[in-house]
Symmetry: C2
Subunit: 544 residues, 2 copies
């Protein structure tokens, strides 16, 4: 029997173990191609995680392919790659089990096996005996260790099982260590634990392991958010001596999700003094969280701790006044430690203090301009009541500010526009738009353009660009990057107020504009039209 | 000096205190009209909360109006209404302070005062002395008690303050109780605490209060989610003797939000044995969370514990196989306890087990139909790769199933459709659509219709309805209730794959259909066209 305190080669320090590519992908709505998985893996490596669980080779075809391509397409700098799988089937010799064979074939240096540790599950789901389950654990761990792999064991339903039958559940843990597992991970698979439960059970297990001659056995925690306590439970486990935590970036995962890996990382490093990654790496956390969100096609929730767009965004007038004195009065950490920014939110709660701070953010010194600030605050409140949202449309807010200052830039005057989609039985769809504008000032010419597009909004964008390019050739450098639609008053069906946010890049800068209207086309026109105005304003100001 | 153990009239049991209408509304993107606030208050009352903090009358005009209208427009069955405000201004007599006056004028029976309890904030933000701050607390609490109001004190930045200067912070708490406060609420205003910090500090405060002759003083907790531990911190506080928790439905609030009130309620009642509301009321939690989300125009995140659409949705094939044996094997509670449902997610992880269970959910017995299940699973995977999502479109999934069974219902054949929007300089916008269809079977007539609408999608909906109504008059009972747009591949700008989900009601049933296309119009057409097909199928099946 091998000693199991730490298998040779297992890093002695704390393990930050990411399972975004395996447990995370069990989230409703999340689908990753192999290319996506490789891209996410590179980002996880940049984040400095200790382990990347890449998937379940053999069981999930896309994962088999991932591990096959890893050798030539993935160059991990610091992270180790782990394959996930299960103990051998009941009643089958481990050498004959194809699922176990596939784990070895994946080539992964680390293999994490899920093992039943709740006797009720052993009987009802596996339909076998407690003894056979222990043998399944022992055989599979030994088999993999004999091939030189590092082995972790995920004790499934550990906490529920421990409450039901602590002796049996502990025996599974002891068996795993005895067979050579480097870490046994205590999984709150159904997510039902509360932090004080975790504390009590970890302490109890710890004394049982000491009594069994395994005082230094390395334990891990794998928590879910069904009780809203995934991160807290993991943190509590660490507070009680655990040195390996598993989670997913952006809290992805089955049902309510896994513990958010970056929230755990920031909590452990910035508040509990664990040096898991270096400071420069932690400052990349926000960028990495959002980049992974892009690949997964799931925006990071704005309220996400540390990395969310709203995490350091202050709205209450009371807070704004204090922040003008000292930002740390209302912030728990310096947002730059995790690569985020402090922002002032402009809304109908915005008092003059908020608008002044926002203006400062955009490069305007409005100190002492009481009247202007008051008028602007009133105008923002009124427009927000109509459905506008300036919270994510700084460029539209800036145009509002310039307008109140009597300096609204104007480059074109719209005479008319038209967009139409025509579907024919043979399947052809024709979408086109026409735009007619009058120029302003020196270039006061009338310009008309027709464009075809993939849809009415795309066609309008191209047509407006076409109408402007003779006088303003810079518009050919503009690119509409992102386009978000929000149907307000959705309960009114298809005739509902629509808000569109458009993100544009123009000659090196990116900005967002907003449009509101009774339908998508009108709202989009306004956002796009503002985008061209703002873009031309910035471009011509730079040139000046 | 009044005894403060419990002011006369304060409920002796546990306090579930909701601040959705005050702290919750500080969330970025959340704006509530007075009518909205009244509607939310009624729902909170249905939820059985002990207190509803209605806002800050005097400071926020909309809140002043809310409290004025409450007398005639709000009939609370069990909840008590509280007004939020602050201690008197430094250096101003409490009787002369208009902010305090406004709190009394609101008529609220309960007033919750935020008081600085962190000495650094007293000096930097209030620019006054620790002594004056204690007097501000004492004067304001006594003044409000003298008018017969129940008074709670929110000790702002309590935990940070206690760590910095436990003697001063404790003195604020003692002062508040001494002046007659019924509850002093310990606020983790910046959200930086971890659960073990909460435990240690609450225990320490408790012994200091005992030493000060206040062993039974009633404490509360008000937590934020900046460290991902808001709910856990509140739960830990309760585990250490606190009997009053504050939170917001759906976790709304400044920055990362407040503790999610319903998550706390479910954790405390279902796991810690506290009987806060009766079981029938708890079973309304999901409905109420979503209804409040509707009013706030912020969808409940699908991963939200207990009430989220995904909270009990199982995706992994492994889990589906076990659940077929016993749902409780992978669920921490019975979803019906909180009014939610277990769902099988149809996705490319869907094995035959998931599709069979889904079919059963929809009323089809597919046991033993191996080929059909296999074909359907393959078709779902293929379509999901194109952008379709059946997770929220059961009606479209059912049509797919019927198609695979060779029983796809068809009521019309589309010859062509056209939609156009025309904007003229005088501000007029003309939007119209034409639809030409051929009938099926007995009613094989050609039908054409023109309709005008608020936008191209609305116009198409009305035109299709017009084209179908002669042969199928039931379509006049159909109503498109909701319409969600998702731009996939958003980084491609305006020519991006678009997915539309449409919710329709038809003759007493509601259902969702999905459409995908390179632009909104095409995607909407598909979803709407499916909705009419499905609706007519259900209506004619019922009639049969």
């Amino acid at each position: 029997m091998m000693t199991s305190a730490t298998a040779p080669g297992t890093p002695g320090g704390f393990h930050l173990y990411d399972t975004t590519l395996r447990d995370g992908s069990q989230q409703e709505g999340l689908t990753l191609s192999v290319a996506d998985k490789l891209a996410v893996a590179r980002l996880l490596d940049e984040l400095g995680v200790t382990y990347i669980e890449g998937g379940w080779p053999g069981a999930v075809p896309r994962d088999t392919e991932f591990f096959a391509r890893v050798a030539t397409e993935l160059d991990l700098r610091t992270a180790r790659l782990a394959a996930f799988g299960a103990t051998r089937k009941a009643g089958v010799a481990v050498g004959d089990d194809p699922q176990v064979r596939a784990l070895l074939d994946s080539g992964a240096g680390t293999i994490t096996l899920v093992a039943k540790s709740d006797l009720r599950h052993v009987k009802a789901a596996l339909r076998t005996s407690g003894e056979e389950n222990l043998a399944m654990v022992r055989d599979t761990v030994e088999h993999l260790r004999a091939s030189g792999r590092e082995v972790f064991v995920d004790a499934e339903h550990f906490f529920d099982g421990f409450r039901d039958d602590p002796d049996y559940t502990t025996s599974v843990v002891v068996e795993a260590f005895g067979a050579g597992a480097a870490v046994v991970v205590l999984c709150d698979t159904n997510g039902g634990m509360l932090p004080h439960d975790i504390a009590a059970i970890v302490d109890d297990l710890r004394s049982r392991l000491a009594a069994a001659g395994l005082p230094d056995a390395r334990l891990g925690a794998h928590t879910h958010n069904d009780s809203g306590c995934a991160v807290a439970n993991a943190v509590m486990a660490v507070h009680h001596g655990i040195t390996h935590v598993q989670g997913c970036v952006n809290g992805y995962g089955e049902r309510t999700g896994n513990a958010d890996l970056i929230t755990m990382l920031a909590d452990l490093q910035l508040k509990m003094g664990l040096e898991l990654v270096d400071a420069e790496t932690l400052a990349e956390a926000t960028r990495i969280a959002h980049a992974i969100g892009e690949i997964c096609n799931m925006a990071v929730p704005s309220r996400a701790p540390y990395v969310g767009a709203s995490a350091f965004a202050h709205k209450a007038g009371l807070h704004a006044s204090a922040i003008r004195v000292d930002p740390d009065l209302y912030q728990q950490i310096d947002p730059r430690d995790v690569g985020n920014d402090m922002r002032m939110i402009i809304s109908d709660m915005a008092g003059r203090a908020s608008i002044e701070l926002k203006g400062r953010e955009l490069g305007f010194d409005l100190a002492g301009e009481g009247d202007l600030l008051g008028r602007l605050a009133a105008r923002v409140k009124a427009r927000e009541a109509e459905g506008y949202s300036y919270e994510a449309a700084d460029a539209s807010f800036e145009l509002l500010l310039l307008d109140e200052m009597g300096e609204l830039p104007r480059f074109f005057d719209v005479e008319s526009w038209k967009a139409s989609s025509h579907f024919l039985r043979d399947g052809a769809l024709e979408t086109e738009a026409t735009v007619k504008v009058l120029g302003i000032g020196d270039a006061a010419e009338r310009s008309v353009a027709l464009a075809e597009g993939n849809g009415p909004v795309n066609a309008l964008d191209l047509a407006l660009r076409g109408a402007l390019r003779t006088v303003h050739p810079q518009v050919d450098e503009f690119e509409l990057l992102d386009f978000k639609v929000r149907i307000l008053d959705a309960h009114h069906g298809t005739d509902a107020t629509t808000r569109v946010l458009v993100r544009t890049s123009a000659c090196g800068i990116e900005f967002q504009t907003v449009g509101v209207g009774p339908n998508l086309i009108e709202a989009s026109w306004e956002a796009i039209s503002d985008a061209y105005t703002y873009g031309l304003h910035r471009v011509t100001s730079q040139a000046a």
